[in-house]
């Protein structure tokens, strides 16, 4: 076998340039790692069992009467947020450590394309399998239980729960670019997730931290998600603004840092 002059005949050179260099190939691999493997249905099955199992108990079993099914829905999505940190912890750090990031960047791949290929496929995979599919089942559960919910309000509530997940996706991604150890990348989001209960006691903070999106923000209030779905006044609108701003900031920092990282 020789490497002939016409070895690449019939093939066209890729024309991706600038920040798009290598993007299509990396995106294909990123989406493939979710949808061409067992990952998607494994996660979907797991989170449907967790979220819809819990809500089924609330709807048809013996659940405390002071806990609304919408509140429970929000709380269960918080568990998904914690799982996000676990799933995402190795995305950047693992590739830095084992050398695959350096290998990929030895190809014509831009730094932004690499970060996008971690951010977009993982966000889509996480939102679809850990939130959208279980939420669709939850909607059917409510219909079966005879609870009327506006589809628009429900979709908005799911979107806010998705914002909470994206907060942890982008936070973990950014930490992956900043640290070389997986321990820091997982510890900080987990500490943040649970620590919000403690710092939430500080006046004002409880109404802007992402915790308020899915978990009750005060003794008498419900979460933003449960309020939206139930058609009640939103208790902590500042949390939505904060989470959006944080997602953008974390993403910008991740791009900035990765652009300067030596591999």
């Amino acid at each position: 076998m020789t490497v002939g002059d016409n070895a690449l005949s019939g093939l066209q050179p890729l024309r991706e340039t600038g920040w798009r260099s290598g993007l299509s190939s990396l995106m294909g691999a990123g989406f493939g790692s979710w949808w061409k493997t067992n990952t998607w249905w494994g996660q979907a099955l797991l989170w449907t069992a967790i979220l819809n199992g819990s809500t089924a108990v609330a709807l048809w079993g013996e659940a405390p009467e002071d806990v609304s099914v919408f509140t429970l829905y929000g709380v269960m999505t918080m568990f998904a947020a914690i799982a996000v940190a676990i799933i995402m912890q190795e995305e950047i750090v693992g590739e830095k450590r084992n050398g695959t990031a350096a290998w990929v960047h030895s190809k014509p791949v831009s730094r932004p394309a690499f970060i996008l290929s971690k951010l977009v496929p993982n966000s889509v995979g996480i939102l679809a399998t850990m939130l959208v599919i279980p939420s669709a089942v939850f909607y059917v559960q409510m219909l079966l239980a005879g609870i009327e919910v506006s589809p628009g309000r429900f979709a908005l509530g799911v979107s806010v729960a998705g914002l909470n997940l994206l907060f942890y996706v982008t936070l973990t991604l950014m930490l992956g670019t900043l640290f070389d150890a997986a321990a820091a990348v997982i510890a900080i989001p987990l500490a943040f997730a649970f620590g919000q209960q403690l710092v939430g006691a500080i006046p004002g903070l409880s109404e802007i931290l992402p915790w308020a999106l899915v978990v009750a923000s005060g003794p008498e209030g419900g979460s933003v998600v449960s309020a939206i779905i139930a058609g009640e006044p939103i208790p902590a609108p500042g949390a939505i603004v904060f989470a959006i701003a944080a997602c953008i900031t974390f993403t910008v920092v991740a791009f900035w840092k990765w652009n300067r990282t030596e591999l």
């Binding site: 070895a7 019939g10 066209q12 791949v109 030596e262």
Partner: protein, 312 residues
């Protein structure tokens, strides 16, 4: 033509230069051995050429393109094998090659598949193509590494220790593959296996503590810039033979040794010497040539002299 060139290329960490102002000149279509002990700066240099690490000072061009301002264009025409190749473990060898190909070209799936198959056969892992690479041995990983580096038929291959950690048969196979790749590409590779360098390289650079201590064609480095020499064991009139040889313009000196039984001939033109020196000696019917040989200098001894000698 030059495939790769650097001027004063430097990389510092905390004020310490791990690569210290190196000037490299890698001729087009050469097999260029990049030698040095561990920690000499070989991998760091290669990573700077690929834009994975930013130089602290100096500059470089690969195939005429600047390594910092045109890094992506450089990587479009370069194939790289990392020192300990690691790929995505959930992929098979075939998927890894298709993934690599996706960064360089597109086209009908049958053509891409054919190219992938061609590379699998080139490196001899076609029978393991659909096995997840997490089960690959070091040698198989190395072969896959060479295949992915060559998938787009690059003009320059940068290979970091391509034969390291391989058994003798694996090394032989890898060197054979390298030989085939040079039909079309310049090969710039690092190694610490000096025997391999002398076997397959035509140019060499020896790096020590981030600095170039020797560079040039294998002959130049082996002789340290001095003239090449040959020796002959003879019976007959050594002085007459010496006089005849000195009349050749490409002979720079002749020493008669061992009581007149040995001639040591230094030459300025190796090609002329290879073609004519032995004939000249044999043409003299009064002279019996019992043995004729080019003085061989082992790269290992040159390497040890350069690397250890300068540190004394």
């Amino acid at each position: 033509m030059v495939a790769l060139q650097t001027e004063g290329l430097t990389k510092s960490y905390d004020g310490v230069n791990v690569v210290d102002g190196i000037d490299l000149v890698v001729p087009d279509r050469s097999v260029y051995g990049f030698l040095g002990p561990n920690g000499a700066g070989k991998t760091t240099t290669m990573k700077m050429l690929l834009g994975l690490i930013r130089p602290s000072a100096g500059s470089g061009t690969v195939l005429g393109m600047d390594i910092t301002s045109a890094s992506e264009d450089v990587r479009r025409r370069v194939g790289y094998l990392p020192q300990e190749p690691r790929f995505y473990p959930h992929m098979t060898a075939r998927e890894t090659l298709a993934f690599s190909a996706g960064f360089f070209f597109s086209g009908p799936a049958s053509r891409v598949d054919a190219r992938v198959e061609e590379m699998l056969e080139l490196v001899g892992i076609a029978d393991r193509a659909d096995r997840p690479i997490k089960s690959f041995s070091g040698g198989e990983m190395q072969r896959l590494g060479i295949a992915q580096a060559q998938i787009h038929q690059p003009d320059l291959l940068i290979l970091d220790e391509p034969a390291a950690a391989l058994d003798p048969l694996g090394r032989r196979d890898v060197l054979e593959i390298l030989g085939r790749l040079t039909e079309r590409s310049t090969v710039f590779y690092s190694t610490h296996i000096l025997e391999d360098v002398q076997r397959v390289s035509d140019h060499v650079c020896i790096l020590k503590k981030g600095r170039v201590v020797a560079q040039g064609s294998i002959d130049e480095v082996l002789t340290g810039g001095a003239d090449t020499s040959y020796w002959a064991t003879i019976v007959g009139d050594a002085e007459a033979a010496r006089a005849r040889l000195l009349a050749q313009e490409w002979v720079s000196g002749v020493t008669v040794a061992e009581g007149g039984s040995r001639l040591v001939v230094s030459v300025t033109d190796t090609d002329a010497a290879e073609a004519r020196l032995q004939r000249l000696l044999l043409a003299d019917e009064a002279l019996i040539v019992k043995e004729f040989k080019r003085s061989s200098i082992d790269l290992e001894s040159v390497f040890v002299d350069l690397v250890e000698g300068e540190s004394e």
